[in-house]
């Protein structure tokens, strides 16, 4: 191996591979917890990043740069897939706001969020139908605007708006059910 290759690899390992956990988290959320598919996605993204490493500007946000590459790999694959699952029908019970059901008085927000554990949130995100999960991950975890999500998924902005609204309410209701099962909200 030429010395410059060894340098490149050492630099890449030090700066990029420290974000492997974050990339894996993003891939798992996007694929709904499919570990094998997530690992393939991460591997593909990391190899692409390595090939483009000369274009990475040192000192800029490396995790954001890698996440963007991973998102693109995922979105290309997502858009190539012709078959889409049928739209999930509106479900009033699963999509109603949770706030009115929390007991007033003793800071229900704190007791609600305070009792949740990260694992419950992660599992609830991964359990969402793809139609809701992908826009939610792109918006809430990746910080994309409605327009950016719409372009990525090739759907109108209005569709993103409504899917995101329904996704968040579905997530909220799952967490509320979890909180009730754990017994810290009534």
């Amino acid at each position: 191996m030429a010395p410059e290759d060894a340098d490149k690899r050492a630099g890449f390992e030090a700066e990029a591979l420290v974000h492997l956990g974050a990339l894996r988290g993003l891939a798992l959320r996007l694929t709904g917890g499919d570990e094998a598919r997530s690992d393939d996605l991460v591997q593909e993204a990391v190899l692409r990043a390595y090939r483009a490493w000369e274009r990475y500007e040192p000192g800029t946000n490396c995790r954001a740069w890698l996440s963007r590459i991973l998102r693109n790999v995922f979105i290309n694959e997502y858009r190539r897939r012709e078959a889409r699952p049928a739209p999930v029908p509106y479900d009033e019970a699963a999509e109603a706001p949770v706030f009115p059901r929390l007991s007033a008085g003793e800071d229900p927000e704190k007791s609600f969020f305070g009792g949740l554990v990260d694992r419950a949130v992660v599992e609830a995100i991964e359990a969402l139908d793809e139609e809701f999960r992908v826009p939610l991950v792109l918006s809430d975890l990746e910080g994309l605007s409605y327009r950016e999500v719409a372009e990525a998924l090739d759907v109108p902005v209005g569709t993103v708006k409504s899917r995101l609204h329904r996704a968040r309410r579905r997530l909220q209701n799952r967490l509320y059910e979890y909180a009730r099962e754990m017994g810290y909200v009534r």
């Binding site: 191996m1 290759d5 490149k8 690899r9 890449f12 390992e13 591979l17 492997l20 956990g21 974050a22 894996r24 988290g25 993003l26 798992l28 959320r29 690992d39 991460v42 591997q43 990391v46 190899l47 390595y50 090939r51 490493w53 706001p97 949770v98 706030f99 009115p100 929390l102 229900p108 927000e109 969020f113 949740l116 990260d118 694992r119 949130v121 992660v122 995100i125 991950v137 918006s139 809430d140 975890l141 605007s145 409605y146 708006k161 995101l164 609204h165 968040r168 997530l171 909220q172």
Partner: protein, 96 residues
């Protein structure tokens, strides 16, 4: 929509919805508002509504906390030593 009525009885002073926005209309836009995705005029009217509506404000506050909570906790991932090793060895084999 100045004749809209609030969904929460007593939320609007003297029966008229604050800033011409009913609670129902404000609540339907909660995520667009929190995401900063509304056109500025409507955003300002909802903000003004929230300043005086004691029923909508805690609702919005809860949704804001919910989104922050998801952002903060939703990323966590168990590391994978196997994946790391697989990638490091691909790089070493000159997969780049």
């Amino acid at each position: 929509m100045s004749d809209g009525t609030g969904t929460h009885a007593g939320s609007a002073p003297r029966g008229s919805p604050p800033e011409g926005i009913s609670c129902e209309e404000a609540l339907a836009r909660v995520y667009e508002y929190l995401d900063g995705e509304l056109e500025p005029g409507l955003h300002d009217r909802i903000r003004a509504h929230l300043e005086v509506c004691h029923r909508c404000y805690p609702f919005f506050d809860f949704e804001r906390m919910f989104l922050e909570y998801v952002r903060e906790t939703g990323r966590s991932a168990p590391g994978s030593e196997a994946l790391r090793e697989r990638i490091v060895s691909l790089l070493a084999d000159g997969a780049g």
